[in-house]
Amino acid sequence: MSYTATNSKARNTTRKLFLWLIIGVLFLPFLPLLIWSFAQDWYFPQLVPQWTLEHWRTLLTASTKVAQGFGQSLAIALLSTGFSLLVGMPAGRALGLMDFPGKGAIKLFLLLPIIVSPLATLMGIQFMLIRLGLSGTLAGVVLVHLLPTIPYMTLVLSSVYANFDPDYEIQARSLGATSFQVLQQVTLPLIAPGVVVGALFAFLISWNEFLLTFFVGSGRVFTLPMVLFTALQGGNTGLTAAIAITSILPALVFLFFSSRALNNDAAIGGLGNV
């Protein structure tokens, strides 16, 4: 009894140590950013910078377009995530649970947008979107963001569904649940961790997308990565650092809230196929 207790305690400490190591490696590069964003000027002979909140104050003014970019980025990322969920759920179910001819070919086809560089297809896409009048609109940007997000979402959800036993649905139906109740009360709660992983992927891909937004948005759709790009060109280190930190905030928030779901085998299983 006491042996197992100490054993698990030791294992717990090791786990914690690893966790902090990972956090350290991941977050150490952000430390200079954090310092820059609060420093007046920070050049070589100085050991400690002169602290200021000026950059963060500038960030909140309209001239930097950070607020606008943040809002547009958020809207585009949420819309792309929503639409790719809408497509990815049934597609993932079909790929994960059903057997049909051409399944392998469809999986390969889904990987194409990931394999082929968007640069190769961008000219054609842009040409199409101009003709459709979608170039430079939010809808057009959401549409091109679906290009990488749908394959990721579908592949993640297909392996989530592959680990899901459809007999649960049969069981629920026979206990009196309608097909909608089955989806709401049984299927969704059981695949939720995987769905969270898929949504996280889609959100982050869309949030960080620069190239597609840059071309299709034609400068009229202004997302946070573009704000960051402009700031980088401007050469204001402090402001750039502040914008960079702002741009990773949603990902951190998302991760924090989904950490419980991620701490789950189904979620890890969802990553297996990617």
Binding site: Y168, I170, A172, S174, L175, G176, A177, L190
Partner: protein, 444 residues
């Protein structure tokens, strides 16, 4: 006083019912000719009714006399997967409160049949009726049946209590009432106090009991069990069988159990529907399936080992070792005879004259509860006899095998394989003429 009288009246009524019931079964036993032809008639009636059924399919009710409507029946149920037939032309009737086992080797179509009953699979042809209501187009959740699968399948995101209350919640029952019922049901399966546990904490047997409770709490008309005990170990299985029987008696629910284990089917059911290769072979009481199998396949499935050819002349069977008498229905010509090995008695001396065959013991195997003896007659007939371990015979010893007249069972022997089809149809004719009753409406 008036209360007493009421009880007495109730008793008289019950007795009357019992009497009537026993009379019914008696008449069934004696005049199978009448019964089989009645079956035929009822089939014909159903065939003619079919058009009427189709007409009324929209409201799902047949307008026939309630006395003639069976509680639950399958008619001509057929299903194939990618051209391969899985269930062929299954006709079955189940009485209210009956325990029926769908028995057969794996891949015989019994699970497919159950899934069609539950509404999970759609039959290619045929009808399913519950209390006269056509179920073919009815969604599984509206069939008033509850399915328990082999794996138990407790919803892992719900607690044990929430699992049991699931069906009630789907029906829109309020929280306090469904919690009360779930807890009461858990008590009934001896898992009181488990309501707040996580399903992952339960053992296999406990999970299966929760699955049973979860299905019974919605008070289904029929409880469907698909191999409910095959994932459990032997000692747990018998206590689970007892629990299922007790719950069935307490609730009076109609039970349809799918199993591949003939021992389990015998213990758990009133009647067994034996399926081979997608077809019903014999639907009968467990006793009949043991003592009066329809053919060699059925007999072998139930552990029959003694088969020999004989020439029948009314009640007399001429075996290679001598003549024996049988109380089974009279036959003429070549027949195949079977006798259960546990019914073959072995005597050291010749005591009475009839149905005795002089034999030599050629093998003696002790199995713990029984002694399996292999016997051989002078004419070369091989026989198996299972006797109590207290009776000890030595190999090489001569003895007399007594084949009780009521233990001998026979069916006409097909002359050769090419003519077997003709022989089968002849057999059916003979059966409808002979004094034998198997309640399968369609066996071959």
């Amino acid at each position: 006083m008036s209360k007493d009288q009421g009880i007495r009246e109730q008793e008289i009524r019950d007795q009357g019912l019992k009497h009537e019931r026993s009379e019914n079964s008696m008449s069934q036993d004696k005049t199978s000719h009448a019964k089989t032809s009645q079956d035929k008639i009822s089939q014909d009636r159903m065939a003619t009714d079919k058009t009427a059924t189709d007409k009324t399919a929209t409201d799902g009710v047949i307008q026939s006399q309630p006395a003639q409507t069976p509680f639950f029946c399958l008619q001509q149920l057929t299903k194939s997967f990618r051209g391969i037939p899985a269930v062929q032309d299954v006709w079955l009737e189940v009485k209210a409160g009956e325990r029926l086992a769908l028995l057969g080797p794996s891949g015989c179509g019994k699970s497919t049949t159950l899934q069609m009953i539950a509404g999970v699979l759609r039959p290619d042809a045929g009808q399913i009726f519950l209390e006269g209501r056509l179920l073919n187009q009815v969604q599984p959740e509206q069939r008033n049946m509850a399915l328990v699968l082999q794996k138990g399948l407790l919803f892992p995101h719900l607690s044990v209590g929430e699992n049991v209350a699931f069906g009630l919640k789907m029906r829109g029952m309020n929280r306090t009432e469904r919690e009360q019922r779930a807890i009461a049901m858990l008590d009934q399966v001896q898992l009181g106090g488990f309501a707040n546990r996580d399903p992952a904490e339960l053992s296999g047997g406990q999970a299966q009991r929760v699955a049973l409770a979860r299905s019974l709490v919605i008070q289904p008309k029929i409880l469907l069990l698909d191999e409910p005990l095959s994932a459990l170990d032997a000692s747990l299985r018998s206590s689970m069988q007892e629990l299922i029987l007790r719950l069935q008696e307490e609730t009076g629910v109609t039970l349809i159990v799918v199993t591949h284990d003939q021992a389990e089917a015998v213990v758990i059911s009133d009647r067994i529907a034996l399926m081979f290769d997608g077809c019903l072979r014999q639907v009968d009481t467990p006793e009949r399936l043991y003592q009066q199998p329809a053919d060699e396949g059925v007999a072998r499935f139930f552990g029959g080992v003694n088969f020999f050819c004989a020439e029948a002349e009314s009640h007399k069977l001429t075996l290679p070792g001598g003549d024996v008498l049988t109380t089974a229905y009279p036959q003429q010509g070549p027949v195949q005879v079977t006798v259960r090995p546990e019914r073959v008695h072995l005597l050291a001396d010749q005591i009475c004259g009839t149905n005795l065959l002089p034999v030599t013991i050629i093998q003696n195997r002790f199995t713990g509860t029984l002694r399996h003896l292999s016997l051989k007659t002078a004419a070369g007939l091989n026989l198996q006899s299972w006797v109590p371990p207290s009776l000890n015979f030595t190999v090489g010893q001569t003895a007399f095998a007594h084949l009780p007249p009521d233990a001998l069972w026979s069916w006409p022997l097909p002359a050769n394989s090419s003519a077997s089809k003709r022989a089968t149809s002849m057999r059916i004719r003979q059966k409808s003429e002979g004094h034998r009753s198997t309640s399968a409406s369609k066996e071959y």
